[in-house]
């Protein structure tokens, strides 16, 4: 197996698939990237058995073949090289790889391609086209509130629902929830809802390209295709909790506040919250929001006042400051709106003004305040 390629080209492709390579695995072969050369097309494949990713680039091939290359060392070498032409030559019988530049020669030991797990065959059953920037935006806005609780697998992924020209993504970890709707899509619908693992989507967010990207689904997997890159992931075959029923519709106390002010203030006050509970209290009265925290463990406390628009009855409500800060930093709107009811019921946070075709709703469960 032999080909010549510009380092920068190879690096670009490698950096896409490299994200899939598990940092530690009981299966050492997964720490490799599979190189397959057919004429002038080099295909790179990486997998962690849940998510696989492949990228194809054009090279000047002279001898077809396929071999698994140790990802870490390869990646580090390519990164360290200037943009020069590189001759990649693999002795497939000895699994020995030689990379030659004008001035250097790098030899590394690969693994036989037969060792590399085969990538599941994907049969497209359903397909939609999504804009790359929208996809990226949707993922970045939702993924932070995915649960890491392996006992509730459904919540470790992002729920994607595609109805008539409308895409909806939902994530929750049981304490907060994000729901984003996009309307006005020039796409049809998906026959069923899918739950995509968070890792797959964070890779998608990195690789999604401007313009059209396809999302296809078969019975067990979902596949994203952007340009010469594809990402295939197993979908989480669980039923998603009934999130609609927990979003209150009758929260009548409305508070509007400048997001940056509140975020900065919450970050400062949170420094004084208990390191185990992270609790901050928000007290609101007419056009004034007071944020306070106290740390009983080490005896510190902080409070700040922010101007806001609020006309309902006075309310005091506690939040986990990490949740609140997370949510605030994932809303890009100058003004945000809280919809509240009581100190123990869910608080809804939305941008005061939604972007066109976008509807963002974030929800956080309060912490009960004691005394």
């Amino acid at each position: 197996m032999k080909f010549t390629v510009a380092c920068s080209e190879l690096q670009k492709a490698l950096s896409k698939v490299n994200g899939v390579v598990p940092s530690k695995s009981t299966l050492p072969i997964l720490e490799n990237i599979l190189f397959s050369l057919s004429k002038n097309m080099l295909k790179l494949v990486a997998t962690d058995l849940e998510v696989s990713m492949s990228a194809t680039i054009e090279v000047r091939g002279s001898e077809d073949g396929t071999i698994a290359v140790p990802a870490k060392r390869l990646m580090e070498t390519i990164r360290a090289l200037p943009d020069v032409q590189l001759v990649f030559h693999a002795d497939l019988s000895a699994n020995k790889i030689k990379m030659i530049t004008e001035t250097g020669e790098y030899i590394l030991m690969g693994e036989s391609s037969e060792e590399f797990p085969s990538i599941p065959q994907f049969k497209v059953e359903d397909k939609i086209v999504l804009q790359g920037d929208m996809l990226r935006r949707m993922i970045n806005r939702t993924i932070f509130s995915v649960s890491t609780d392996e006992l509730r697998p459904a919540m470790t992924g992002v729920l994607l629902q595609v109805k008539e020209n409308e895409l909806r993504a939902v994530t929750t970890d049981g304490h907060r929830l994000v729901r984003i709707n996009y309307t006005g899509l020039k796409t049809s619908k998906l026959k069923r809802d899918i739950i995509v693992p968070a890792k797959a989507l964070s890779l998608v967010a990195k690789s999604a390209e401007e313009g059209d990207n396809t999302l296809s689904v078969d019975s067990t997997h979902v596949q994203f295709t952007f340009g010469n890159t594809t990402l295939t992931s197993r979908v989480i075959e669980e039923s998603y909790p009934n999130y609609e029923s927990v979003i209150p519709l009758d929260n009548e106390k409305t508070l509007t506040v400048n997001k940056d002010l509140l975020l900065a203030s919450a970050r400062r006050v949170a420094l004084y919250s208990s390191s185990t509970t992270h609790q901050i209290r928000c007290s609101m009265k007419k056009n004034e929001l007071k944020i306070a925290a106290e740390d009983a463990d080490f005896g510190g406390e902080a409070k700040e006042k922010i101007a806001c628009s609020y006309t309902a009855d006075e309310l005091e409500i506690g939040f986990n400051s990490t949740y609140l800060i997370d949510i605030l930093s994932h809303i890009d709107s100058d003004e945000i709106e809280f919809k509240l009811s009581t100190a123990v019921r869910a608080a809804i946070i939305t941008p005061a003004k939604q972007k066109p075709n976008e509807d963002v709703l974030m929800l956080v469960m309060p912490m009960r305040l004691n005394a």
């Binding site: 927990v246 463990d297 912490m367 004691n370 005394a371």
Partner: protein
């Protein structure tokens, strides 16, 4: 039509009753030995052959019986031990049911020889299967000897159920050992197939333990003594490093009666907390004495169970006494090879601590938290060993100084617990005591100069070394800090108000009926630790909020854990999950091996370490402090 129901023949009725009392040779031994003890015997011999299956004899020098009584004794419900039902309320003897002899006689060939002090002759009675075969006069010493031959000869089913010889013999040995522990003032002689297994002279409780378990094991024991108006507890508990993989060496006595009680057992075990590696069980022999009116022994014919008037109080009592005893004793693993230590060396160590009464005065007064702590009494040898060990702390005290101040503003101490070696505290109340040991040293001809204060070093940025009088103290800096932080965090948990994180998706938890009523009962407490629970009826509860400091996920499991914790130990007030948090937080936040410490930091660390309730092990059970004695160093360098 003939009636279906008829009264059983006496011999059949007796066989049935015997099933409860006489289960195996060991139960016969137990019943007979109890009789001997109730007859104030001072010497008891137990002779068994073929593990008691063919021959079993108990000889005592007790009061004996008259010839009339001897015959009566084999009647069912015949006893000298109680007379009225009031007596049953306050049983002071080991036996009281009046069943044992009748039961044994129903299933074996029994021969009894007995003579009272003032009788001219003794009586010999032979009974087989409850039939009197012989009743004659015989000459013998005062006392009673009962021989039981061919046990279960007339109940083959029962005989077939007997275990192997080894097992049955072990059961008998267990019975004798328990009795021997509980009655050290009695001489015991025990043989199996003509091979003497035990030959114990009357002695003190300490002496008996030494005889039974050997000097080495005894050195690993700590004396327990506590007395209140209601009850008193005496005995010994093993240091953690003497713990065993099974519960075999756990002896619990109530009014010197061996019993099995899960709650008390748990209390002891719990008191050890993290001192024990998982799966290890501490050695203990404890006798709880209390007015027999407060307990009911008449629970089961074998009398291995006792019902307490107030079990949870006893649980708390045992827990706090054991905890305190452990906290007050030097548990630093010593790197000496004890087996090599000659008795003279041992004595020498004792001599060093002669002036110790000064130090071991009660220290309860300043804290008032421990009004009932009786200190180890100086006159008994064990206490002297303990205090000679504690003498090390005096040196530590001198090394690090300012201990009193630390104690004064020590806020980590929990109520009712002694949280640091006694000497630290006494040094505050009796300043002169700090000088005394050194005078004693000189008096004892010790050449070693007074230790240079602040002698403390760090090696490999990992261990802290410091000189103490009897050797070298090595502290693992990471685990030491871990222990300090762990206790601090737990204290914070206890002091801070609970916060509840409301759940977005309330968890419906279906419980079984008993758990449900437990939740109902515990509702206020669960709320206090941060749960928000709604009772839904039909054994279903809805979990709407969880303690905020608990990790996301498996909320239901946490509730279940808390309930289980309550079931196992209704007195535990913390939740396991919190303990885990405290542990992992302490581990992460503690200084690491590799962090360089300056002298002040080291001193502060050691100061804080010895202010914790358990400075010797980290929350995960690893040792924090290791001591190498001078003797050991000498030995290593061939100086001995």
């Amino acid at each position: 039509m003939p009636s279906k129901i008829h009264i059983l023949q006496p011999d059949l009725a007796n066989k049935i009753a015997a099933g409860e009392v006489v289960q195996r040779p060991a139960s016969v031994v137990k019943e007979l030995v109890e009789n001997s003890l109730d007859a104030y015997a001072t010497k008891i011999s137990v002779i068994v052959k073929e593990a008691g299956k063919s021959f079993l004899q108990v000889i005592d020098d007790g009061e004996g019986l008259s010839s009339e009584d001897a015959l009566l004794a084999f009647q069912r419900h015949a006893t000298s031990k109680i007379a009225t039902s009031e007596d049953l309320e306050a049983i002071t003897t080991l036996g009281f049911r009046g069943e044992a002899l009748a039961s044994i006689a129903a299933v074996a060939q029994v021969e009894m020889r007995t003579r009272q002090e003032h009788d001219d002759t003794g009586t010999l009675i032979r009974i087989e299967g409850n039939e009197l075969k012989e009743n004659t006069k015989t000459g013998m010493e005062r006392g009673t000897s009962i021989t039981v031959k061919n046990l279960f000869y007339n109940t083959p089913a029962r005989r077939n159920f007997l275990k192997t010889r080894t097992t049955e013999l072990k059961n008998i040995s267990d019975v004798v050992t328990r009795m021997a522990i509980a009655y050290p003032e009695v001489a015991w002689f025990y043989t199996s197939d003509d091979e003497p297994l035990l030959d114990l002279k009357p002695t003190s409780p300490e002496g008996r333990l030494k005889d039974l378990f050997g000097e080495r094991q005894f050195e690993g024991l700590v004396k327990v003594h506590e007395k209140t108006e209601y009850l008193s507890m005496d005995g010994f508990i093993g240091k953690p490093n003497f713990a065993r993989k099974s519960r075999v060496e756990q002896y619990l006595f109530i009014n010197r009666r061996f019993i099995v009680n899960k709650a008390i057992n748990h209390a002891v075990f719990h008191a050890y907390e993290h001192l024990l590696v998982k799966g290890m069980f501490p050695f203990y022999t404890l006798n709880i004495s209390l007015d027999p009116r407060h307990i009911d022994v008449n629970v089961h014919p074998s009398k291995m169970e006792v019902k307490f008037e107030n079990e949870s109080n006893i649980y708390r009592f045992v827990l706090s006494v054991i905890r305190r005893t452990l906290g007050a004793n030097d548990l630093i693993p010593d790197l000496t090879f004890k087996s090599d230590e000659t008795f003279t060396q041992f004595e020498e160590r004792l001599r060093f601590s002669q002036p110790s009464p000064n130090r071991i005065q009660p220290f309860g007064s300043p804290s008032a938290a421990t009004p009932n702590v009786s200190r180890l009494s100086p006159q008994d040898s064990f206490a002297e060993v303990a205090s000679s060990m504690e003498a090390d702390h005096i040196d530590l005290d001198q090394l690090f100084g300012k201990v009193e101040r630390r104690i004064a503003d020590d806020s980590m101490r929990r109520d009712g617990e002694v949280t640091f070696p006694a000497d630290f505290k006494t040094s505050g109340t009796a300043p002169q005591s700090r000088i005394v040991p050194h005078q004693a040293l000189r008096a004892a001809g010790e050449q070693e100069p007074v230790i240079e204060t602040r002698a403390i070093w760090q090696i490999h940025n990992k261990y802290i070394l410091s000189q103490v009088r009897t050797g070298l103290l090595i502290v693992d800096q990471h685990v030491a800090h871990e222990r300090i932080l762990y206790e601090k965090i737990l204290a914070n948990f206890e002091n801070s108000l609970p916060t509840t994180q409301q759940l977005l998706f309330p968890h419906t938890v279906e419980l079984n009926a008993s758990d449900y009523s437990l939740v109902k009962e515990l509702a206020p407490h669960l709320e206090k630790i941060g749960f928000d629970i709604k009772l839904f009826g039909k054994n279903t509860v809805v979990l709407e909020g969880i303690p905020a400091d608990v990790r996301i996920g498996n909320e239901t499991k946490i509730l279940q854990d808390v309930l289980d914790e309550f079931k196992n130990n209704e007195h535990n007030q913390t939740i396991d999950a919190r303990d885990k948090i405290a542990k992992s937080f302490a581990c992460k936040a503690a200084i690491k091996a590799g962090d360089k410490l300056n002298t002040t930091e080291m001193i502060v660390l050691i100061d804080q370490l010895f202010a914790t309730s358990m400075p010797y092990v980290c929350p995960h059970g690893r040792p924090v402090v290791v001591k190498i004695s001078v003797e050991e160093l000498d030995r290593r360098f061939g100086r001995t």
